[in-house]
Amino acid sequence: MATADGLEAYVIARRTARSSPLLLIPFLVCGAAAAEAPSPADGPKTLGAPGSNLVYTPITACRIVNTEATAAGPIAAGATRSFSGIGEASYTAQGGSATDCGTVGVVATALMLHVTAVTPTLAGTATVYPFNTTRPGSPSLQYSAGAVVNGAVLAQIPNPPQASDFTIHSSATANYTVDIVGYFAPPQATALQCVQSSLSTLDIPAGGFATLFSPVCPAGYAKTSTSCDTTSTLAYLTITAISGCQARNTSASLQQLNAQATCCRVPGR
């Protein structure tokens, strides 16, 4: 038997001896209920793991450090100085922007920085590393005397936050500017984007039994549930799975079975 939207349906007509009382199961969502809850033994999932599956958010370059504009001045040879990189109302204390750089309220675990060494007195290196950790052996920048050298630095920062976010070690006396251009943050849970499919219908004769599949989902969507109902209060319906409905018409007249799919996808392109 062909359904209203062309979906194939199987109908087994048979006579029933008893008159069925009312049994209506309107738009029962079964897909979500069928999903298996993760077991703790499964461990963290890669997708969405807050410590590793980070989400990068670019921002307009914003100056958070300019040592030349501070009372402390250049970082002396062999010395370190620590800075805040995110979440401040203003960066003027570090010689930077008077704005918050759009990062107030952001909980990040790494910052994308543009670091510039300005006219170091001698040749040397700059190393940018997380605050309150051991300085790594490999530097972030290498420069000669009197040069202006810059580079992009991906700097991990403490999470939860500490007194500072990152530290710069300078092997030669030099001024530094630091611009933040983005940050990495743990992923945020996002609601699925769901649509309802068209309705498929099927007539079930008295005493008949039928299976009706809900319509296919648009491209890129996955079927998460099917809602089933009947136009008659006399029909006796049983629902089988996500993809369709099975029903037995226990009434004495022709009944119509309807199926509609809920189709969802992860938001994005």
Binding site: L122, A123, A145, G146
Partner: protein, 343 residues
């Protein structure tokens, strides 16, 4: 009189070329026989804001003198019993009386003073102001700035010719060396060298000046008669400090990021030797007899003696935090004893 070896608690890596115990022993003998007890190294401790006065004969720190912020360059004037210290982040020059080991004057100069040198008679001190592109000429008798001369961008190392007639200033930001007439206090020539020139030194007897280029990893040899570069020596790494041996046969170059001290023969302008001296060597100075080169290692916080004949490394002498000491920082007390009995 004691030797330089065995004085300090912290041994350093031995030379790459000559690293046997026998050679270290040879250094001890050589240095012990030649390093006068009255020879002192004035080591500018950049992070500690002080100067360690090291008796290189005993290998010990005799005293420590507080100076300005981030001391960087050192120059000595033995004829007048003075040592001059540029305070890089203090914008001043501290004047130390070597008889009392006390700061007797602090002279405001330009922005971020770096290298400093004195005239042979000790009446002038020249300090390069890295932050504003000038050279301050100091009346070392009156402790005042006589004149401030524009030179190139980010002037760094300074050296005075043996006759005192010319002053050479390495301009790190410009890749040039400014030649200043000491009589008129005017720039008479500008010599293009490599990228990021830092230290500069002059030959005691020949018309040569040597400047290390931190960015192009070379040593430029300048003919001071013609003010032209007559040779360029590949050093690799990041050459930083430079000193000419008193005899003039060799130039010693610190290679900051390679942790080495290089010996360059002046006859052929070739690198003849490389010695491991520890992390981030900066300033280098030769003992009066040329037997020992002393290297301040900024990240090792030590003064490292190197036997110039063998390349053997002696026991490092702990100093203050972050020694730089660019310039001629060895001071030889003429009579061996300071006026106050300090030795």
């Amino acid at each position: 009189m004691r030797t330089v070896a065995g004085a300090g608690p912290r041994p350093l890596p031995v030379a790459t070329i000559a690293r046997t115990a026998a050679m270290v022993l040879a250094l001890a003998v050589a240095a012990g026989g030649r390093a006068d007890a009255a020879t002192f190294a004035y080591v500018a401790n950049h992070q500690a804001n002080n100067v360690s006065v090291v008796n290189v004969g005993t290998g010990t720190v005799a005293t420590t003198i507080a100076v300005g912020a981030a001391p960087y360059g050192i120059a000595v004037a033995e004829s007048r019993g003075r040592v001059y210290v540029s305070n890089h982040l203090g914008g001043s020059v501290s004047v130390i009386n070597t008889d009392t080991q006390a700061v007797v004057a602090t002279i405001p100069v330009g922005a971020r003073p770096a290298g400093i040198a004195t005239s042979p008679d000790g009446t002038r001190a020249y300090v390069a102001n890295f932050g504003d592109g000038t050279l301050s000429v100091i009346d070392a008798v009156g402790n005042t700035v006589l004149v401030t001369i524009p030179v190139g961008a980010n002037p760094n190392g300074v050296a005075v010719r043996a006759d005192g007639a010319r002053v050479y200033v390495a301009n790190s930001g410009a890749g040039t060396v400014s030649v200043v007439d000491a009589a008129t206090n005017e720039v008479t020539a500008t010599v293009t060298v490599g990228t990021g020139p830092a230290g500069v030194a002059v030959h005691p007897g020949q018309p040569r000046a040597y400047v290390v280029n931190t960015g192009s990893a070379t040593l430029s040899v300048i003919d001071t008669n013609s003010n032209t570069v007559v040779a360029t020596v590949r050093t690799d790494g990041y050459p930083t400090g430079v000193a000419v041996a008193p005899g003039g046969n060799a130039v010693w170059v610190t290679n900051a990021l390679d942790d080495t001290l290089l010996r360059v023969e002046t006859a052929g302008n070739t690198v003849a030797q490389s010695v491991d001296v520890g992390p981030y060597p900066a300033g280098v100075a030769l003992s009066p007899d040329g037997a020992v080169a002393y290297v301040a290692t900024t990240e090792g916080d030590v003064l490292v003696p190197v036997n110039t004949a063998t390349g053997g490394v002696g026991t490092a002498i702990p100093v203050g935090d972050g020694p730089v000491s660019l310039g001629r920082f060895l001071y030889q007390q003429p009579d061996g004893v300071f006026a106050n009995g300090f030795e």
